[in-house]
């Protein structure tokens, strides 16, 4: 870049860099605030003294949260939903995307349309609820895994990837060597598709981690609830749960809420915050593949 900057350039670039910096700060500050308040003295948080750095380093909130059976249970539930759910998601998505990526499949257009149409029209909350009820899945773990098992968008994204990256010639060559389609899928296509499988696993995984509405509608028992539901109740101080019975009196209860809320927030979001920097490029790649759609 050998062009010499003129005055206008200086103004623009300064303003732009300033804007970008402000954006970065505005994005990270809330998390810093939550982190700081979670390890501060509750009284100092209440008076508003804590705004950037912790004051009166105090890990009581974490002590309580990490000893709470309800929170651990919810964590376990979420991990189950993430692992079991995502596994099913990826398997089914791949099973659907691969055939649809093959040009020789008769009825390919029809099947694709059936799937894409669901992105534009759905029956709505109530009929879906009634269906889950009819199937006896209400208030069971299955309700969070099966009804949302396949995302049409992610299936199409995978199909697009496979169309572009698994040429018919490759498949034909394997067929001539005597492989049937199942073997081709398992031994040839899957190893070649690891990038897109990683992307959709991440998208599905994050979706499960953040799941709230499905749990709200389909689950009654607290023992089945995932993390976000429990977090919500703690944030609204609706939980007369084992958290607050560990605290002595009502004033201290209100006081501890100051740090319990951010602490639980951190606990609920920590994996996302930690893994995100390393995984974000996969998400971005997925977005690009998905948006240059067919």
């Amino acid at each position: 870049m050998t062009k010499r900057w003129q005055f206008g350039d200086w103004v623009f670039h300064s303003a732009n860099y300033l804007f970008m910096t402000a954006l970065v700060l505005a994005t990270t500050y809330p998390f810093i605030y939550v982190l700081a308040t979670s390890v501060s003295d509750p009284i100092r948080v209440m008076t508003g003294e804590v705004w950037l750095l912790p004051i009166g380093l105090n890990f009581d909130a974490y002590d309580i949260v990490l000893r709470s059976k309800t929170v651990w249970n919810a964590y376990g539930n979420t991990l189950f939903y993430v692992v079991a759910g995502t596994s099913l998601n990826v398997v089914l998505t791949m099973l659907g995307a691969y055939p649809l990526s093959r040009r020789s499949l008769y009825g390919r257009g029809l099947f694709s349309f059936i799937i894409v149409f669901t992105m534009f029209f759905g029956a709505g909350m109530i009929p879906n609820f009634l269906l889950v009820k009819e199937l006896g899945m209400l208030n069971t773990r299955w309700a969070l895994i099966i009804p949302g098992a396949i995302s049409a968008w992610l299936l199409i994204m995978t199909r697009t990837y496979l169309q572009a990256n698994i040429p018919d010639e490759l498949v034909e060559a394997a067929q001539m060597d005597g492989a049937n389609d199942l073997m081709i899928l398992w031994r040839l296509v899957v190893p070649l598709s690891l990038p897109i499988l990683a992307v959709i696993a991440l998208f599905y995984g994050v979706g499960h981690w953040n799941e709230y509405v499905a749990a709200l509608i389909y689950l009654r028992d607290v023992s089945l609830q995932p993390l976000q539901v429990i977090l919500r109740q703690i944030l609204l101080a609706q939980m007369g749960l084992d958290l607050t019975t560990m605290v002595d009196d009502t004033f201290k209860e209100a006081l501890m809420a100051q740090t319990l809320r951010p602490a639980t927030t951190i606990v609920a979001t920590l994996p996302i915050l930690l893994f995100y920097p390393f995984l974000q490029r996969y998400f971005v790649k997925g977005m690009m593949v998905g948006s240059l759609k067919g």
Partner: protein, 323 residues
Amino acid sequence: MTSQAATAKAMSPSRSAVDKTSWRLRWTRIKRNRWLYLMLLPVIAYFAVFAYGPMYGLVIAFKDYGIFTGIADSPWIGVAHFERFFNSIYFWRLIRNTLVLNAYGLFVGFPAPIILALLLNEVMHGRFKRVVQTVSYLPHFVSLVVIVGLVQTFLSPSTGPVNLLIKGLGLDPINFLQEPGWFRHIYVWSGIWQEIGWGSIIYLAALSGIDPTLYESAEMDGAGRLARMWYISLPGIMPVAMVILLINLGNLLRVGFEKVFLLYNGSTLEVADVISTYVYRVGIQQQQYDFATAVGLFNSVICLILLVIFNWMANRAEQQSLW
């Protein structure tokens, strides 16, 4: 018919023979791909049961549904539920809130990622640019429960930083979350905060696809930065932008349930209640399944119609369309 067509007809095999051959060919194709169909089976079954199955349940919008009588045996009552909804005192409020939240959100939220993408495109330090991008995508992955929790913490009348700042300036604290007047701004701007980074990805991808020589020649012709943006960058991302705009316009009457539900409360119900939250309250909480289904159906149908209309308009204007 023309002599050409007549000759062609005379020379081609008879119609039934053609059909037989093509059907045989198709059948061969199907048999050859039988494992592929087997793979597709669970997937199609899933969509049949969980996407199309509930659509059968939509009929209860026209019935007086009783849980014990079941869908098939419940009596028909025609459009009574729809009439009830249209005449209800909530009807206009719900439509208004849904539309306003979406329109406001669209008005601010549609240009925002575009502007961010254009500005990011001008950043020359690769490292700084990547840092900004990575950081800006983060809120997109945080759950709405946490986002709303952050909003509630920051805007808390007693301990929230915003009000502490206000008090520090000598003014009275504002109870943002309880004030109907603030709800829409909070809803929309927190959405911008969450999605502006992620939304810019697709535009940045489009921008990177623009031929750099266009910029060079424009610069040589004396086009300033703004001119280059206006005449080169913007047209370059126009197709993508149009698709996104279309999708958003088509969803003008569909406001997501989760965020409103998490954010609203008794005081803000008047401006916050949207169709989806109404359906939840009436359907799931009050268990008026048939009525709520009717409301939901009304919503879905309107959305579909809007989508078709906007897509048709885009087609007419020879712009990019969805299909």
